[in-house]
């Protein structure tokens, strides 16, 4: 509990971030928040910017290899963020990353995912990988909510381990679902466009 407050406090001090809900009210319902990925702090910042009752049911999806290293990261992943850890390097049928995500959804949790699969290099987000489409198709009742996260990469650029304070922003858009008869590519394009619009970036 204490470590949770400390982490949230630290994120506030560093980024001053408060979520701006422009397309949806912060309701307590099951959702998949999907965001652009610019920094290792992204998941933490989105998680910390949610109202506490939403934060309690929302689990960031994060890379297994990164969050199981050392002593601090596994502690934070397990006891603070309650992260859903997925394999991203040696994906087999056995450790299919979708399985733990679907299990978390079935247990009633909301998720925070980064559908680009990696951190974006330049200004524009990469094309979405198909994972988000699988989630939308397999759990059609869960709303998908686009999120744009800005300026957090300057707090902790790739390769740095000491953060600097920098005001960031988290913008939360309108919920969407997989439309009937929508193709996979069509859906991936539409979801990415919704996310890019929030950030004022051309899709």
């Amino acid at each position: 509990m204490l470590s949770k407050f400390l982490i949230i406090g630290l994120v506030r001090v560093l980024t001053g971030v408060r979520a701006r809900w422009v397309g949806a009210a912060p309701e307590k319902r099951q959702r998949i928040y999907f965001a652009n990925h610019t920094s290792n702090l992204d998941a933490v910042v989105i998680w910390a910017s949610l109202p506490s009752e939403l934060r309690a049911i929302t689990r960031p999806v994060a890379a297994h290899d990164y969050w199981t290293k050392g002593l601090t990261r596994p502690y934070l992943a397990k006891h603070v963020f309650n992260a859903v850890l997925i394999e991203r390097k040696n994906v087999t049928v056995k450790n299919n990353p979708l399985t733990p995500m679907l299990a978390a959804l079935d247990a009633g949790s909301s998720l925070i995912i980064f559908p680009e699969g990696g951190r974006m290099a330049g200004g524009e987000p990469a094309a979405f990988k198909s994972g988000i489409h699988h989630l939308a198709a397999k759990r059609p009742d869960v709303e998908l909510v686009p999120v744009w996260i800005d300026n957090v990469n300057r707090v902790l650029p790739k390769g740095e381990f000491l953060p600097v304070p920098m005001l960031g922003s988290v913008t939360i858009g309108a919920p969407m679902k997989l439309a009937e008869g929508e193709t996979k590519d069509g859906f991936l394009m539409r979801a990415r466009a919704a996310m890019c619009t929030l950030g004022g970036v051309s899709a």
Binding site: G16, V164, P165
Partner: protein
């Protein structure tokens, strides 16, 4: 902190002004007719509400003593610098230098103010930080726009940290016959700069015609500037009893404070205009960011400090 009668009267005066502003705001909110008027009044009332919070925090810190006051201004500098650097495009190569600026130089500057080490706090940022930071940036190896980036980090530290730290440093000035009463100088400085901002806004809204620098700030007019500066200086002269000054001296010093404050607002507006934003942040409701409220104080504090130190110490 020595809670003498003068300080109590100053506190009561500030509270009285806020009570009157709150009552007027509540009446205007009921009587406003047009949407535009309602929006203006709502913003004004949000500002008054934020003023209550700021005055309570400032008063609490002052009542807590010199250390809590220094810590409060240190936190304000941290928040102001965070806003400033956010608006300034920096690169990967600046990261380590920025870490130093935030977590070493800023606390050190306020430590020297707290330790009353004038010889150090008055040169620490202009000399030591100035020499050290570009070295750290050069070591990172990225030479693109090097001079610009080094200058921006230094400028942010000078404005947000160094200049602002002169405000709590007032508490350490050894003025003959005024020992233990310096808190009133800080209240005087903050009250005059902030009243000057408010009065310039009011005079500008009522009579503003000729813009001082239309390309920098459309809301700064000669009528607002002259009216605000003169009324705030008159107010300062009327507060002579709380200061080591005669009424005429209090008026003249207030004039210097208010003009410096105006210049601070103008320069910070130019930076905002350059970056294409209206406010530095959203932390204080109705006002914008910390830097939007502190801009005039950044310029006025060192001017006031050095006037005092030269002629009264």
């Amino acid at each position: 902190m020595n809670m003498d009668d003068d300080l109590m009267w100053m506190g009561a005066g500030v509270g009285g002004v806020l009570v009157i502003a709150s009552i007027i705001g509540a009446i205007l909110a009921k009587t406003a007719k047009t949407d535009q008027a309602r929006a203006t009044i709502a913003n004004m009332n949000a500002r008054t509400g934020a003023w209550w919070v700021m005055v309570i925090i400032f008063g609490g810190a002052l009542a807590g003593g010199r250390t809590t006051t220094v810590v409060l201004f240190g936190l304000l500098s941290f928040l102001a610098l965070r806003e400033f650097i956010t608006l300034t495009p920096t690169r990967r190569g600046d990261h380590r230098a920025l870490f130093w600026a935030f977590f070493v130089i800023t606390p050190a500057q306020y430590y020297f103010v707290g330790a009353e080490w004038y010889g150090m706090f008055s040169i620490f940022v202009p000399v030591w930080a100035f020499l050290f930071l570009p070295v750290r940036t050069a070591m990172a190896g990225d030479c693109d726009h090097f001079l610009e980036r080094a200058a921006k980090t230094q400028w942010g530290l000078m404005a947000c940290v160094y200049c602002l730290s002169y405000a709590p440093a007032l508490l350490s000035l050894p003025i003959a016959g005024y020992a233990g009463e310096n808190a009133k100088l800080l209240v005087f400085l903050v009250a005059i700069t902030q009243m000057s901002d408010v009065l310039q806004y009011v005079w500008g809204k009522l009579f503003g015609r000729h813009k001082v620098a239309p390309l920098v700030s459309p809301s700064k007019t000669w009528e607002g500037l002259i009216g605000g500066v003169l009324t705030a200086s008159a107010l300062g002269a009327g507060l002579w009893w709380a200061t080591p000054f005669t009424p005429w001296e209090a008026g003249a010093v207030s004039l210097a404070i208010t003009i410096a404050g105006f210049c601070g607002g103008l320069v910070m507006s130019a930076i905002k205009r350059d970056r294409g934003v209206k406010d530095y942040g959203v932390l204080i409701e109705g006002h914008g960011g910390v830097m939007d409220r502190m801009d005039s104080l950044c310029f006025a504090a060192p001017v006031f400090f050095h006037i005092l130190r030269y002629w009264w110490v």
